[in-house]
């Protein structure tokens, strides 16, 4: 199973197992398979480590497998780059990291891996406070052998599930160290339950895996019986239950979620319950009975990330790479924008990856151009001509602010403005007439009225309006796209129409055309 750290090792380490790779050339399932001749590229690097500081021309001629790699320019770039990075590692100066080569697929995929949402970082930064609180709570419960409940809430993408994973591990480790019995841990996602009361059978199954479920009593009753009796054995374990997406358990009568939390209030209960959800006031709204029993769960709120936190997390993720990929200003722009919008970490990671892809695309185009240029020149000139070009390329191959800006605009802009601008003329006129109609304060109207308004506008500009059938068809198309909302009616003309797009969006989109500008004033 490929591991994350394997990919981020320095090229020096990789040269050790290049011999293995040489032998198992065809069978590359030991690493995650990469298309594009990977083992061969590494072999070239191995050879180049031994041949130091030869001229690029001789380097290429002396390595036996240049033709298999692709263009000679690529291999040379790899060699020159490797020499640069070797130099850096030899001098042990990590502050001046080398630039990276965006064309090298190995490096690009390493960066993408570091920025992927599924990669769990080894240390979770910016959530130490919240993790400490949860850990303290669990420690207290285990020490005093008392049951308790905790509610973790926060917007999506704020690191709740990630922190709970870490806390789980930390609790078990601490219990072992401190000499307590490590608790059973049950972590489940409530969306995977078909029936909300299944959660109790899952808890029982975890608690006493050997005991068969008694047919006459429900799992809930069994649990309640268990918790109300004095335990015989004195060394029975506590059980830590982490329930993700707790709001899936909320039913109309809220029975299940009440019973779940009430389990922890029974006198001999040994459950430590941690519920995770998005709603901040779930405990207040849905668990009023607990308040009367004076055992409301403790609430730990995971606030949305601020700009500095996002920046720190991104930098932390990128420190595992041995080269600079992003300009610092670009990262700051991303952090600022995402923090202003939602504070969702997943979005920030996605935007960074998107900016990276843009850089990649830019490079593919420019190398395509350079390849065609160099192919025009003679092959003898090739080596000398591309030398200075390579160094120029390596000068500015980080992700710059403009890449990040384009990625941000693509993520945060809605496609509505572009679509309105590319609608056929008559549909734009229909949208216009709808805007004018609704300016008077009305919220909806019928198709027939809209048709009249549309015909008026067409008359004023001397465009022949389309017939009623086509008008209805166009309204339906606009409804499909989510710009209108058509109601139901037996007769077509009496269907009610509401505008679902903001008026300012339409005005903005159509401002380029003089006619619409005049019309919408």
């Amino acid at each position: 199973m490929p591991s994350v750290c394997g990919r981020n090792s320095s090229p020096f380490d990789r040269s050790d197992n290049v011999d293995d790779v040489n032998r198992s050339d065809g069978d590359s399932t030991s690493q995650k398979r990469r298309l594009g001749g990977d083992p061969v590229a590494m072999e070239v690097r191995q050879i180049s480590t031994q041949i130091k500081w030869k001229s690029p021309r001789r380097c290429v001629n002396s390595s036996p497998k240049t033709s298999a790699i692709g263009t000679e320019k690529d291999s040379m770039e790899g060699i020159v780059n490797l020499q640069k990075s070797q130099k850096t590692i030899l001098t042990n100066d990590l502050t001046a990291k080398p630039n990276w080569n965006p064309i090298d697929t190995e490096q690009v995929s390493a960066v993408k891996e570091a920025l992927h949402v599924s990669t769990a970082p080894s240390t979770v930064v910016c959530r130490e406070d919240e993790q400490r609180r949860v850990l303290e709570f669990c420690k207290v419960c285990i020490e005093e052998e008392k049951a308790g409940s905790l509610y973790v809430c926060g917007c999506p993408g704020t690191g709740k599930s990630l922190s709970m994973e870490k806390v789980k591990q930390q609790v078990v480790d601490w219990a072992k160290e401190a000499g307590f019995h490590p608790p059973y841990v049950l972590s489940l996602n409530c969306t995977s339950l078909t029936n909300t009361s299944e959660i109790f059978s899952k808890i029982i199954g975890e608690n006493q895996p050997k005991k068969k479920l008694n047919g006459s009593t429900s799992p809930l009753q069994q649990l309640q019986k268990l918790c109300s009796q004095q335990q015989q054995s004195s060394c029975s374990k506590m059980m830590l239950i982490i329930a993700d997406e707790l709001d899936y358990l909320i039913t109309k009568d809220r029975a299940v979620i009440h019973d779940l939390f009430l389990l922890t209030t029974l006198p001999f209960s040994r459950f430590v319950l941690i519920g995770v959800a998005n709603a901040i006031d779930l405990a207040d709204r849905f668990l009023p009975r607990l308040q009367s029993l004076n055992c409301k769960p403790m609430v730990v709120t995971f606030r949305a990330y601020s700009k500095d936190q996002i920046l720190r997390i991104l930098q932390e993720r990128l420190t595992v790479l041995p080269y600079i990929v992003f300009q610092p200003l670009a990262l700051e722009l991303c952090a600022r924008k995402v923090a202003a919008a939602s504070g969702d970490m997943r979005k920030a990671l996605s935007v960074c990856r998107s900016a990276l892809e843009m850089l990649e695309a830019e490079f593919r185009e420019s190398t395509g151009n350079m390849n065609s240029i160099s192919q025009e020149k003679g092959s003898l000139d090739k080596q000398t001509a591309t030398g200075p070009e390579i160094l120029e390329v390596q000068g500015n191959n980080v992700v710059r602010v403009d890449h990040m800006a384009v990625a941000l605009s693509k993520t945060f802009k809605s496609p509505i403005v572009e679509t309105i601008q590319s609608l056929p003329k008559h549909q734009q006129i229909i949208l216009c007439s709808a805007v004018k109609f609704f300016r008077g304060g009305k919220k909806d109207t019928t198709v027939g009225e809209l048709n009249k308004s549309y015909i008026d506008i067409c008359k004023s500009v001397l465009i022949p309006p389309v017939g009623t059938l086509e008008f209805l068809g166009m309204c339906r198309v606009l409804n499909d796209q989510g710009l209108f909302k058509l109601g139901q009616s037996r007769e077509e003309k009496f269907k009610r129409v509401t505008l679902k797009v903001d008026e300012s969006d339409i005005t903005f989109a159509l401002q380029g055309i003089r006619f619409f500008r005049a019309c919408l004033q």
Binding site: L35, P424, E470
Partner: protein
């Protein structure tokens, strides 16, 4: 002569088959890197190569080629890496219910990997099977591509399917790509916030083709190939003639008029099919007239054609009814129309003055042709003359119908203008 007729017939067949084949239409998109085809291909192939998870949404009006381009990309990728991809297709119209969707996923996975599928499997079994398969395929470096058609319909209800799919993609062990296809522009606003947070916000917008793209498309589709299928001279002549049509200003007008009402690719192809079918096999070449006839055929106005078939008296009655409406008389019946008719005759001294019975007969004809109808829903309580009626044709259409009438009396046009 016979041979050339053959050629023209063959050319017609070739053009028609091209217009019905989406692969042919969207193939030239693969050349340029800016098109949606290349972008989509790049995203999916880089996800496969780097073995990471990805999700993307294809948006655009109906008929703009989203599914065609997607199928083209998937076809290419399946050729390149056959054993590294498996494709699971779901449709929002069929599988928006979570139970149904998981069952279908399990069934397709079983078919793909030659496992036995049990219809008795429960919802739990199916979802665990899917997660297990995702892990297995992740280990075997196989990417599973989920294609969700009508994506906005999956966003109804509790969105459990979307959540489990996107959540499974958050783990390192699985390799999956989720592609959503929808015609609603705000499809991602319909998602719950936790599902939206897990969805990477890549969107590809399918816009109608620009002017240059349109020209390229027309040339690509309607030029005959210069290989041995057709005689060289004929093919050259055909292409020359077609290029001259393309440059004609009137052709531009025809295309613009058509595109003003519907500009998606599928509508355009329908128009071209119509035009090509009008090609005269005798003359062996496409002409501008074909396109004009096609435009008229597609943009029919049924009410106008009805008006053209009316008699002059019936036109008089229609114009009188329109005048009554203009005078803000919201409900009128045959008697009021007759009064108006008489007043018009008195004012303008027209020569067409018919008796009441004849007018009643004309009135019945109009009712049958559905140019007017009764505005109350009672049965046949009252006689025809007293029931309120209303016009079913708008004044604009009536005016156009009068203008294109073969021998419309000038008085009627004058009356319409008031």
């Amino acid at each position: 002569m016979g041979k050339e007729k053959n050629q023209a017939g063959k050319a017609l067949n070739l053009l028609r088959s091209r217009l019905c084949d989406p692969n042919f239409i969207f193939k030239p998109l693969s050349d340029s890197p800016e098109t949606n085809y290349s972008k989509l291909k790049f995203i999916i192939s880089s996800s496969i190569k780097e073995a990471c998870n990805n999700s993307i949404l294809l948006l655009g009006p109906r008929g703009s080629g989203k599914v065609s381009v997607l199928e083209l990309v998937l076809g290419d990728l399946l050729q390149e890496h056959l054993d590294q991809i498996s494709v699971i297709r779901l449709n929002g119209l069929l599988h928006s219910d979570d139970n149904c969707a998981f069952k279908e996923i399990a069934r397709q996975l079983c078919v793909e990997h030659q496992l036995l599928f049990s219809k008795m499997a429960s919802f739990d079994d199916n979802s665990q099977f899917m997660i297990a398969m995702l892990q297995e395929c992740g280990l075997a470096h196989k990417t599973i591509i989920f294609v969700l058609d009508e994506f906005d319909l999956f966003a109804q209800g509790k969105q459990r399917l979307l959540y489990s799919l996107l959540d499974a993609m958050q783990s390192v062990t699985s390799q999956a790509v989720v592609i959503g296809v929808s015609c609603r522009l705000d499809a991602d606003q319909l998602l719950e916030k936790r599902v939206r947070s897990r969805f990477s916000h890549r969107k590809l917008l399918f816009l109608p083709p620009s002017k240059e793209d349109l020209e390229r498309l027309l040339e690509h589709v309607l030029s005959l190939p210069l290989d041995s299928t057709f005689s060289h001279g004929y093919a050259l002549d055909f292409n020359e003639k077609f290029k001259s049509i393309l440059r004609d200003k009137r052709f531009e007008e025809v295309i613009d008029t058509y595109l003003n009402s519907s500009s998606t690719v599928s509508q355009l192809l329908r128009f071209l099919f119509c035009a090509v079918s009008f090609m005269d096999v005798e003359s062996e070449f496409l002409s501008l007239e074909n396109f004009k006839t096609a435009l008229l055929t597609i943009q029919r106005q049924p009410k106008l054609e009805c008006v053209k078939d009316c008699s002059i008296l019936e036109l008089y009655l229609l114009v009188c009814m329109k005048r009554l409406e203009v005078k803000e008389q919201n409900s009128y019946n045959f008697n009021s129309v007759m009064k108006e008719y008489k007043s018009v005759h008195d004012t303008f001294q027209t020569c067409d003055y018919y008796s009441r019975n004849v007018c009643l007969r004309a009135f019945e004809h109009l009712l049958q042709r559905e140019l007017i109808c009764f505005s109350d829903n009672r049965g046949t309580g009252q006689s025809l003359e007293f029931r309120p009626v209303k016009l079913l044709i708008s004044p604009v259409e009536l005016y156009q119908g009068l203008k294109s009438y073969r021998s419309c009396p000038a008085i009627l046009l004058k009356l319409m203008d008031r």
